[in-house]
């Protein structure tokens, strides 16, 4: 039970961290592409 509840609470910040890293990587790629095409990010 202890392990299960620990997992139940901590899985959400772990998922948040995963999404944060994914988004940061994608934005860095978007930025590189925008720079290559001589346009702004937005």
């Amino acid at each position: 039970m202890t392990l299960l509840f620990g997992f139940y609470v901590l899985i959400w910040p772990a998922l948040t961290l995963g999404v944060l890293l994914l988004i940061c990587r994608a934005v860095a790629r978007d930025r590189r592409e925008a720079k290559k095409d001589h346009r702004t990010l937005v």
Binding site: M1, T2, L3, F5, G6, Y8, V9, L10, W12, P13, L15, T16, L17, V19, L20, L22, I23, C24, R25, A26, V27, A28, R29, D30, E33, A34, R39, T40, L41, V42
Partner: protein, 566 residues
């Protein structure tokens, strides 16, 4: 509202935090500012926003201040499953819209609002119904977010509620006014990074400071049987079901979502919305767990106000630097939603009201920009006034919710079926609003034939919600089978029972009535619509921009600038 039990910042500290946040955000917008903004970019950027910025913007927009408070309240009230029943359905609102969003985008690749698409499909009356629902929704959202800023500032500092409202309103307006949607999406990214980083730290920090999993499990004795049950019917019926019903309605009725559907690179719609679904769910459910922790510890919300739960837990277990981080977390979430609301409101006024109904195809892009900026200023003033005087918006909220439910089927059917007419759209929404009011305000006693009739309409509503959700992902046949099965299940289980749940009955009645009227009237019509004409009718307002986009999209019908159309 101030309480000695919560950590109190000095006035100077709070003002410095707000200046750092809004000043930093404003400086960020300077990096994308153009001396001469164009109308299309002001509304939807260049229709090619990348996956990263798009996903960040969608997530940040959908997370508003109330998300944290309500998720924690849900965890505290319904126990183990509470945070899921708040966060999961909110996340699914993003997920379930994208299959329809791809269709909207295919029909009108250069649209700025969903209303423009509906205008091209049906004409002004249907479009204005949609625009009105979007306008009301964004005004309410703006007011709620400014209210949250005022409440937070007054709880954590000696500053007044009104001071918090005004600082947030002016701060958001300041960085959004010049570049509109472009500023909104750019700052959304920065705000989301801060928001996520803080959530990643705060949730485990509170969890381990309170004693970790051992303490949580020991505290389960404080829960009732329903609260300790992961499949609690109480949580499902009172928290999950009303949210589930609203999944499609919130997504269709919200211009902040449509705007992003039309702004992101068409090939990236799916990953963008999938990522935003996971991101939203993880942050909101995670912060909702703080409510569950408070429940297991037997914490009583300060002054009986559930909104104090998270600040109370953070204050009790963590040093002041975490409270400052929490402060930024809430200010970031409410500001990202408020700037999206301002951008949404300006796009509706620019495209739906001025572009389609005042200029009627001869829109001047410079005047459009002026309309957009004036809209932002007026909307901010309205939001500040409504929030400052804590006006009761319950009735407005009820009507907007009903309107969103009523338009779901007509909007989606109009984009897939060529037989739906303008009269069917408009009439179905109006009739649905009437039946909604009859059920919601119990103008008729929900007994006997009336009770049965409304439960029948609500069963159609339940069936159509499931049908549309399944149809979005699996196609017509699967959608029809699932919808029929849900309709029969509703008839069996809801008859004689649903009338006890007035809000749920009324919401489902709105869906059911609009579907029934829209289907009957459309089947009786001989009109057939050519969907290809939508792309020709909905284009960019800046002709030069339109040519550029057309050149880059050879397989699609080349859109003409609206200034040169009709």
């Amino acid at each position: 509202m101030n309480s000695a039990s919560l950590h109190q910042f000095s006035t100077l500290t709070v003002i410095l935090l707000m200046i750092a946040f809004y000043g930093g955000t404003y400086l960020l917008t300077l990096s994308i500012r153009k001396k001469k903004e164009d109308a299309d970019a002001f509304m939807v950027s260049n229709h090619r926003v990348g996956f990263g910025i798009g996903a960040a913007s969608m997530t940040a927009t959908w997370i508003w201040a109330a998300s944290f408070y309500a998720a924690a309240t849900s965890g505290y009230t319904y126990g183990v499953s509470g945070p899921i029943h708040y966060g999961l359905w909110g996340a699914l609102m993003i997920l379930f819209i994208y299959p329809f969003g791809r269709r909207f985008r295919r029909l009108a690749p250069n649209a700025h609002t969903l209303g423009e698409l509906i205008h091209a499909r049906h004409g002004s009356s249907s479009q204005l119904i949609l625009a009105l629902s979007n306008l009301l929704g964004s005004i309410i959202s703006l007011m709620v977010n400014f209210t949250a800023a005022g409440a937070l500032v007054s709880v954590l500092s000696p500053l007044s509620f009104q001071a918090g409202v005004i600082i947030a309103g002016v701060g958001v307006l300041l960085y959004t006014l010049w570049s509109g949607f472009r500023a909104s999406v750019m700052t959304d990214f920065a705000q989301l990074v801060a928001l996520m980083a803080i959530a990643v730290v705060i949730i485990p920090a509170v969890f381990f400071a309170m004693g970790g999993p051992t303490e949580l499990v020991a505290g389960l004795d404080n829960l009732t049987a329903e609260q300790a049950n992961f499949f609690s019917m109480d949580a499902i019926l009172n928290q999950g079901a009303p949210f589930f019903v609203a999944v499609l309605a919130y997504a269709i009725g919200n211009q902040t979502i449509s705007q992003r559907l039309f702004a992101v690179n068409e090939d990236h719609i799916k990953p963008t919305f999938l990522t935003a679904t996971v991101g939203y769910g993880a942050i909101v459910i995670g912060l909702g767990m703080i409510g569950l922790m408070a429940l297991t510890l037997g914490v009583e919300p300060l002054n009986g106000d559930m909104n104090n739960l998270i600040p109370q837990m953070v204050s009790s277990y963590l040093p002041p630097v975490f409270i400052a981080a929490f402060f930024i977390l809430v200010i970031g979430s409410l500001s990202s939603t408020a700037d999206s609301d301002l951008s949404a409101l300006s796009a509706i006024m620019m495209a739906d009201v001025y572009g389609k109904n005042i200029a009627r195809g001869k829109a001047d892009p410079r005047r459009m920009l002026l309309v957009g900026r004036i809209t932002m200023i007026v909307a901010t003033a309205i939001g500040i006034v409504f929030a400052s005087f804590s006006l009761d918006i319950l009735v407005m909220l009820v009507f907007v919710g009903a309107l969103w439910g009523a338009i779901v089927f007509p909007v989606i059917a109009s984009c897939f079926c060529n037989r739906v007419t303008n009269a069917a759209f408009t009439t179905s929404v109006l009739v649905a609003m009437v039946t909604f009011c009859v059920a919601r305000f119990e103008w008729l006693p929900m007994t006997g034939v009336a009770g049965l009739g409304f439960e029948f309409l609500a069963s159609i509503g339940g069936g159509i919600i499931i049908a549309l959700m399944v149809f979005g992902f699996l196609g017509r046949v699967a959608g029809a089978i699932a919808g029929l099965a849900a309709f029969v299940a509703m008839l069996v289980f809801a008859t004689g029972f649903l009338r006890e749940y007035t809000v749920l009955l009324a919401s489902l009645t709105a869906y059911g009535t609009s579907t029934l009227v829209c289907v009957v009237m459309s089947l009786a019509s001989r009109e057939r619509f050519d969907f290809d004409t939508i792309a020709e009718r909905v284009g960019n307002y800046d002709a030069a921009e339109a040519v550029t986009v057309a050149d880059e999209r050879p397989p699609k019908p080349a859109p003409a600038g609206l200034a040169t159309q009709r």
